[in-house]
């Protein structure tokens, strides 16, 4: 009898625990959530003001944007550059790569990699930004949402492909493709939408020679003709968006055309390790509604154009220390007032470092340009080099 009572009691307690556990479990989860996904809004952004890029603070305070933060460092991600790139980077350790005012980099183009694994100054970091790992080529389709201050939206769709002509580490031929003209990179932009831009193609060619401007041709479908374009005015808007040609991938300028100053290194909240595709509230000045940022060490680099007529006063770039990839940039106008902000959050997968979004905010006019990058950065597709020629533009044009 006594044995049965003990058994009964034990079973009653056991059953009671089973029923009561769900009541306690959420609180256990809740106890963990504030540490992982803390919502930052107007009411609490001042607490982390010094750990945010100023433009994030501005957007929260002035536009009512919100985002979530992970206050602790994330676990290590899966991404590593390719073996070829890693080996090539090791070759550059010890200052083997030099900078020449005319030729750009010396002792670099035949093997590639990150040119300055331990950058000592802004100029070296500037070159690292140009040559962080993107494979020997990459490309993806994009949709650009042009949103004005009233939330009205237009779309521009395209397909972008870039190929390294030199500094190749992954695909044959390693080093350089046949290169009598000293080409460092070629890229094509195919415009797919809207109707007036459809079937137009831009071909851009960049050279080793830092003092030589890019060459650009545009097949203008409405003219049925290829037109040579001047690339000198790189501060011109890119197809009507908030960003200009130098802002593509945050820092697409010719290194020789800029001055670089390394302001320091700091732990900052940035979107280096986004898990989800971004979602936006277009009516709220293009706010990303599921942005989660976490603390990572970054270099802070100030970039200024040598052109006195350049539209920006300066550009402050937050460069990921680990990958040398720029994640956030903030630009001032010529009077030193905050003007634009670029946010380029990343996703660190095992085989690639994916750019999940490219958001450009005009802090003065409240217009935004949001790039919806449909697919992951497709690296090393090994396109035919002939795809990056004038003759190919004539083939695909109508």
């Amino acid at each position: 009898m006594i044995k049965n009572k003990k058994l009964e009691t034990g079973m009653a307690v056991f059953i009671l625990c089973i029923f009561l556990t769900p009541l306690f479990l959420p609180s256990l989860v809740r106890a963990e959530a504030p540490e992982k996904n803390r919502l930052i809004d107007k009411s609490n952004v001042d607490e982390i003001k010094d750990e945010l890029p100023p433009s994030y603070y501005f957007r929260v305070k002035e536009w009512g944007h919100t985002f979530k933060i992970k206050p602790v460092y994330s676990p290590a991600h899966d991404f590593k550059p390719s073996k070829g790139y890693t080996e090539a980077t090791k070759k550059n350790i010890g200052g083997k790569v030099k900078i020449d005012p005319k030729m750009g980099l010396i002792n670099y183009y035949d093997h590639g990699g990150l040119p300055f694994p331990n950058p000592k100054n802004g100029v070296e970091l500037g070159w690292n930004i140009r040559w962080y790992y993107t494979g020997d080529d990459f490309g993806y389709p994009y949709t650009m949402h042009l949103i004005d201050a009233k939330g009205r939206e237009r779309k521009v769709k395209g397909d972008w492909h870039q190929i390294h002509w030199a500094g190749r580490t992954d695909l044959e031929p390693l080093g350089q493709l046949p290169n009598p003209k000293g080409v460092s990179m070629k890229e094509v932009f195919w415009q797919l939408y809207p109707y007036e831009m459809k079937d137009s193609v831009v071909l851009n060619v960049r050279y080793f020679d830092s003092q030589k401007n890019d060459d650009m041709w545009i097949y203008i479908a409405s003219m049925r003709r290829i037109r040579r374009m001047s690339t000198a005015q790189r501060c011109d808007s890119f197809v009507g968006s908030v960003n200009n040609w130098d802002d593509i991938r945050i820092c697409n300028s010719k290194p020789y055309a800029m001055t670089y100053k390394l302001l320091g290194k700091k732990d900052i909240y940035i979107g280096k390790n986004q898990k989800d595709d971004p979602e936006y509230n277009v009516k709220s000045y293009g706010q990303s509604t599921n942005e989660i940022i976490e603390k990572w060490p970054v270099y802070i680099l100030e970039v200024k154009s040598k052109d006195p007529n350049y539209s920006y006063g300066n550009k402050i770039i937050y460069v990921d220390v680990e990958t040398s990839k720029p994640i956030v940039a903030e630009m001032t106008d010529r009077k030193g007032r905050p003007w634009k902000m670029i946010n380029m959050p990343q996703r660190m997968l095992s085989d690639r470092m994916d750019c999940v979004a490219y958001d450009v905010y005009d802090l003065q006019s409240r217009c935004t340009s949001l790039y919806d990058l449909h697919t992951l950065d497709i690296m090393n597709k090994d396109p035919e080099p002939d795809m990056f020629t004038i003759a190919y533009m004539k083939k695909v044009g109508r």
Partner: protein, 539 residues
Amino acid sequence: MVRKLNMVALLSVIIFFFCLETVFGFKALDGNIEINGYYKNDSAIRLSDGQSDLHGEDTYGLAGTAEGWEAGDYYLCRNTLQIEVAWDLQKNLNMYGIWRGYYDASLDINRDFKQNMIDADSERAIDDYEKDTELRELYVNIFPGNWNFRIGKQQIVWGESDGFRMADIINPLDYSWHYFFPSWEDIRIPLWGADIIYAIPSEHQVSVELVCLPGAFNTGFQPNKLAPSGANWSSGFLNQYFHDALDAGTSLWTDLGMLPSGMHLKDLLPGLVGAHGRTGAIQYFQDSMEKSVPENSIRNCELGMRLNAMLGNWDVSIFDFYSRNDNPTFRKDWLTRLQSSTSSRDELFEYVWLNKLGATFNVYNNATKAVFRGECVYTLDEPFFPKNPFTIDLSTGLFDCTTYESDTFSYMLGFDRPTTIPLLNRYRTFFISGQIFQKYILDYDNNMTTMDMSNDDIQTLFTLLVNTGYKQDTILPQVFMMYDASGEGWIQPQVEYVYGDFWRFGIGANILMSNDKKQAYFGGMRDNDDVYAWAKFAW
């Protein structure tokens, strides 16, 4: 009743497109077929009365049944529906086609416009002028390896110039509804033929291009298309030319005793006088130009070749194009033909064969931050109109129209420079583009005249284009200016507004200036200033 139905249909189409909220390029077959297109309305209003004093008398409406062209006339209400299909059949093989239909409602809005054309004896041309449908382009692209074959009805564009044509010589133009002001993609007349390009693998990006327009079967020669007589853009040159020519001929024949004093050639020559007086003459000649178009035959095959290369920083090409002239000239025996009773009396003109050799270049200059471009064309034996086509061989007493030919050399030099002017636009540069054109008639004769030049042996033109964009390229202002050193000019300001993904609206003006009616481009049309607007829905 038909007129009302047409208007109702037009309004229905307009309302339909306004109501559409989401339209997208239709895709089928897993995205291998894409269907796009647009609906567009082009409208224009005259700013001045028509040139009534072209010959001391009214040019139009002699019968008194119409007003002629006046300031405020809503002369253009052209509605265009264009459907485009692109089909990727397989790798290295695709197909492209455009179907287009248009309807100009202005002739239904104002009956006087039709009467103008009736008075000018071009009644039979009204239907085609008012509405039409066509398979505009249809071609197949095959591009294996370094080859590119484009076969079918197409536009082939060469050259570096804007606003005026020099090396862009393959396709004729449709000048009939708004002169050469619309986008040339819309007014080039596509031709059946083959365009074959081979890219030679080399560091200089060399390519060789062969163009063949057979001229046979249903792919025959097409000249430039002019507006029918009495239409708003009927050729000012032809108006002026034929009236002056009739006067010159009358004077000569009177002196030779072949014409009684007080009579005019128009009264003597059969067929030159239309139902409503002398205005019929222009349409008679235009009809004859059409009937003089050569028959479809492989003997009318036109051939062109172009070699392209990158030499250092220079993108250069040389070309040769052997083809018929897109503009007609009088046959030597045209007066004799006019007197005959056979069908040859209708074929008073010919489209002579021309050989055009030329070159183009473009180069980017670091120091000036500008692209420089240029082209030149040497034309062998270019034909010209005689000032007086009513000449007679005094030794035989037979009609003998003197024909004139001369080698000509034309060139264009231009620059493009996007320029930052922060005070005016912080976000966008101003695209500034300037050109100079010159044409030399190497064997000039005072008795010749030409459709595209004033009566000089050298023509010099300057053009300037400036455009930019505001509000994320939703507001696109532009101004284009032209000045001919012989004393004519053209200013075209316009602004375009982009609304959403599908709608575009624009307004602009063509201000034409000429100090002499004889001047070629705008002399006879200098009072054709207009304000134009367009609305376009594209998907």
